[in-house]
Amino acid sequence: MKTSFQSPQQFFRQRRLRLSVVLIILIGIYVTSMALVNFQTWTSIAKIPAGLIWLFHNFIPTERSISYLGPILYQLWRTLLVSISSTIVASLFALIFAILGAKTTTPSPVFRIVIRFGASLLRNIPVVAWAMILLFSFKQSDFTGFLALFFMTLGYLTRAFTETIEDLDAEKLQALQAVGANYFQCVFCGVLPEAASTLTSWVLYMIENNLRDATLVGLLTGTGVGFLFDYYFKSFRYDAAGLIVLLIAILVILLELTSTQIRRAIA
């Protein structure tokens, strides 16, 4: 960047010019996108209040919706189980991959490259695509949802775990090596205890995330609470659908609060 200008006026002119260019580009992107998806900003925004009013009228659970509570709670519970188990199973695999792939602990650079690439591939395939890929072979079962979340989570956690391990203080590892610890001793007595609370923190975050994604996967694969929502929604039983939305929100917030508490306790 140039650090001398002929006059402060010139400096501000250039600053304003740059700002204007950025603004014009952003507005350009906005207008183009609007045209491409065929969206009218103002008419749509104008509908939001009416939408919210409609929502409050129709989505508020009534006495009738209480009768749906049983199946809803059951499916919510199943969905929670699937999000937790897919995260935990994925985190086991991710931990092995991360140890093999992290710069400080990799036995060979070849592992590192292969694992990095694989994790990036898994992560960047959207969860929708996973659902579609798995649906045909595994049909409408909880297992489809489990696998879809598993693959996504595996990609994310492998990267997160690798970075966590690489961020560890390399000197501590060297200290262990210096007292004559072998590779496995280094990993299990040095790396893992040191990283444990950060790794757990990531696992908790992924559970929260997967609970949200599980709804979507359920919607697509016809399982869990997502399917139930779709079913009530399409049969115009909005109060029951509203009850589901409310319960999901409560569950997610509870989960968030719990993991914040846990994180604080293990930090």
């Binding site: 952003l26 906005y30 183009t32 996108s33 998806v37 065929n38 969206f39 009218q40 008419t43 749509s44 925004i45 509908k47 939001i48 939408g51 409609w54 929502l55 989505f59 199943r78 189980l81 699937v82 937790i84 188990s85 935990i88 199973v89 591939l121 960047n124 395939i125 959207p126 969860v127 929708v128 695509a129 659902a131 579609m132 890929i133 798995l134 649906l135 045909f136 072979s137 595994f138 409408q140 079962s141 909880d142 297992f143 444990a196 757990t200 949200r212 709804t215 979507l216 919607l219 697509l220 929502f229 909005y238 939305v245 999901i248 997610v252 917030i253 846990i262 306790a265 293990i266 930090a267």
Partner: protein
Amino acid sequence: MIENSQPKPKTIQPVAPQTKHVSLVTRPRKILRGVLAGLAIITIYSLATLNNGNLVFADAFKSLGVNLNAMFLHPGVGQDTFGQLLRALVTSVSLAMLTTLLGAVIAFFIAVGAARNLAPSWLATTIKAVMAFIRAIPTILWVLIYSVVMGLGASAAVVGLTFHSVAYLVKAYSESIEETSQDTIEALKASGVGFWPIVFQAILPSIVPALLSWTFIRFEINFANAVAVGAAAGADDIGYFLFMAGSFYFNFHEVGLIVYLLLAVAIVLELVSMKLRGHYLKHN
């Protein structure tokens, strides 16, 4: 006030061991182990009771193998044309850009009200609670809810995605605002500067890097969401084609091609984000 507390009823208490027991396990460690053990038990229970719909796993994995082979080694356009798919991909990217930009602008103003160092605490708390509630409901449900009001299609998708983006970004932005030092704000207050000039002239320039980085993260999320919305709510984007190819026509060659297209976008996004981050690291 231990001395003044009421005498407790006598209970038999174990005598403390005389020799000091050297414990390597601290309290956080114990909690950590407890949490992990609990999660492990839930996982085992969940796997044991998973509804697998009488699947024969060997067959299922074999068929998955065949499909993966078809997808990744023999991608094809199926009954759509390549042009159609590209157009749909552009729609998805546009959807993500539109909702991110709209969400970012709205979120910034709400975030000012949600930042504890700027707004009165009752307002900040209220806004944060409402945003936490909106965030807790998955994006796709917002889109479906709005599609009843606005009809299935682009408008509902945009509004639903924006809704969730705003809730996400308000949290991120307000936390960034709260990180700006109270002292610099006070310095301008001391010279008689009003509220909005402080926000735009002092706080905004200090947090631009954080805002950009959060907004970009949200853009990546919105792209994934846009695909999901297409699949689940029928917006006319790449997600819809993916859904049709995967669960209507069972054309895995097309699913493979679409996954490749999505991967290409993801790689571009990753490169851009690396560039952006590098740019700002250099400047700070």
